[in-house]
């Protein structure tokens, strides 16, 4: 089980959290101007890195706030937790 450091509540068990996938995907400002390929890229294509990965978690059984985590996808080691909108450390 992962132990996840919520920026507001501190380190808690993974079972308190909800996973949100890759972090930092910005919605395109003008979706109607995109081609089908560009829209598919936003909608479906994702980083799936073997190694460091920036992802979102939500503290569902705590403060219920979303935040970002940088985690290694082979060792599962959590390298950083940071707020939405902040650049990845």
């Amino acid at each position: 089980m992962l132990r996840i450091p919520c920026p507001w509540c501190g380190v808690r068990d993974e079972t308190e959290f909800h996973y949100g996938g890759q972090a930092g995907i910005a919605r395109p400002p003008h979706p109607d101007a995109l081609s089908d390929d560009e829209w598919a890229d936003f909608l479906f294509m994702r980083d799936n890195s073997k190694g460091e990965f920036a992802e979102r978690w939500m503290h569902a059984a705590g403060c219920r706030r979303w935040f970002n985590v940088k985690r290694h996808t082979v060792t599962h080691r959590i390298l950083a937790a940071y707020c939405i909108g902040e650049p990845a450390p």
Binding site: M1, D13, T15, W39, A40, F44, R46, N48, K50, F53
Partner: protein
């Protein structure tokens, strides 16, 4: 290839079974092949076999970074069925199931395909509606699916707890009699032996580290044993599809998750069919050795670690004991994890890539094993003709741009 028969068995019994030949060669890789298949799991080996058998392409190498069938082929829970909702999926999985039915004879290798039937339980009204709809859709596609009432399920599986007082009572379920299980290692070994017999080079401990391209098309692969040239390269690396795609410079709509499974101590035969519950996340069958083989949903987070969190196993054990109180005091022998490549629509990607001469077969999510022969069959066709077969044409990478997704989250029966 020395054929297995009752005579060869008798002959080798006389010599203490010490003179069986090796079932496939371990050749040094040549400097060039017509086709290179990256990944020596069931799907890759099946692709090599059907390339050689159906299309006469035998100058083929299967490159495996570890050992044959050591990835998801040896980590799944061996369930085979074809009761998928949409016409596209029904065609693909049913094609595969038909190949399963003659596979042992085809390969001269006992893959222990056992058509003991698969029950998918319904626990709420939405499950009932979706299950009945799926069973009817299956029948329209010529698949032997039927709807069973709670009593009918109880007759087939007396140890199942069908009390109405359950938190998630059994309200019925779909049943596919031709579904069942197969021995997953034997599938890899059988395809390897048969492909090797037709001249395919199977190279183990050969890891692909790069995909070389020239003039917009594939030129070969870099490996830990040097560069190997090929005009056609096929990626069949369940669990690492995105990693290989990145080597070739394109992205996939795939996320890799751990999927855990476990087996119990062996007991006398008590469970004569496969029972799956998508709603409370457990599926179970009993192996020929008597062990219960148990699986459930994926871990929520992305991972390449081939292990997951314990609370997921805890959840699936709770579901198992709720459905089968008789299993409450069983001890579990071992658990493991595999990495599954999940697509947004729970359907695979089988076809061409943006790189000329490079093909991909992946994104099977939690349910690739059942498709092994059919997947290899259509993928071999795709590679040989440089165009998808009508059966796998809908499963192209382009469907994510066109929007023609094939949503099989319901039939996948496992939470993605």
């Amino acid at each position: 290839m020395r054929k297995f028969s009752v005579w060869s068995l008798a002959r080798n019994a006389v010599t203490g079974h010490e003179r069986w030949p090796r079932q496939w060669r371990s050749p040094e890789p040549k400097s060039a092949y017509d086709v290179i298949i990256i990944g020596g799991g069931g799907h890759g080996l099946a692709t090599a076999y059907y390339l050689a058998k159906n299309h006469g392409i035998t100058n083929v190498a299967v490159l495996e970074k570890g050992w044959l069938g050591g990835g998801n082929t040896g980590r799944n829970t061996t369930i085979v069925r074809s009761n998928y909702l949409w016409d596209e999926s029904a065609a693909l999985y049913e094609h595969s199931l038909k190949l399963w039915e003659s596979l042992s004879r085809e390969l001269n290798y006992n893959v222990m395909f056992s058509q003991r039937g698969v029950v998918n339980l319904a626990h709420n009204l939405a499950d009932v509606r979706a299950g009945r709809r799926r069973a009817e859709a299956n029948r329209l596609n010529g698949i032997d699916s039927e709807w069973l009432t709670t009593d009918e399920i109880k007759r087939r599986c007396p140890i199942l707890n069908t009390a109405s007082t359950l938190r998630y009572p059994v309200l019925g379920g779909t049943f596919q009699p031709r579904g069942g299980t197969a021995r997953h290692d034997a599938v890899a070994w059988g395809f390897a032996r048969a492909a090797d017999d037709r001249g395919v080079d199977i190279v183990q401990n050969c890891e692909v580290t790069g995909i070389r391209r020239a003039d917009g098309r594939v030129a070969g692969v870099e490996t830990n044993r040097g560069f190997i040239a090929a005009r056609k390269v096929a990626i069949v690396t369940a669990g690492h599809s995105s990693v290989l795609a990145e080597m070739a410079g394109f992205r996939l709509p795939i996320q890799s998750h751990p999927l855990q499974a476990l087996v119990s101590e062996p007991i006398k035969p008590v469970l004569h069919t496969v029972v799956m519950s998508g709603a409370i996340h457990v599926y179970v069958s009993q192996s020929d050795k008597g062990e219960l083989v148990i699986g459930a949903g994926v871990d929520s987070y992305n991972s390449y670690a081939q292990r997951g969190s314990f609370h997921v196993i805890e959840g699936q054990m709770a579901a198992l004991v709720e459905l089968f109180p008789i299993f409450a005091r069983l001890r579990m022998l071992r658990s493991w994890g595999g990495i599954v490549d999940v697509c947004p629509d729970a359907s695979p990607i089988i076809g061409k890539t943006p790189v000329e001469g490079l093909y991909i077969n992946g994104g099977w999510g939690t349910g690739g094993f059942k498709a092994t022969p059919g997947s290899g069959w259509v993928f071999a066709w795709t590679i040989a003709n440089d165009a998808p077969h009508p059966v796998n044409a809908p499963f192209s990478l382009a469907r994510f741009s066109s929007g023609a997704l094939i949503d099989e989250h319901g039939a996948a029966a496992v939470a993605h």
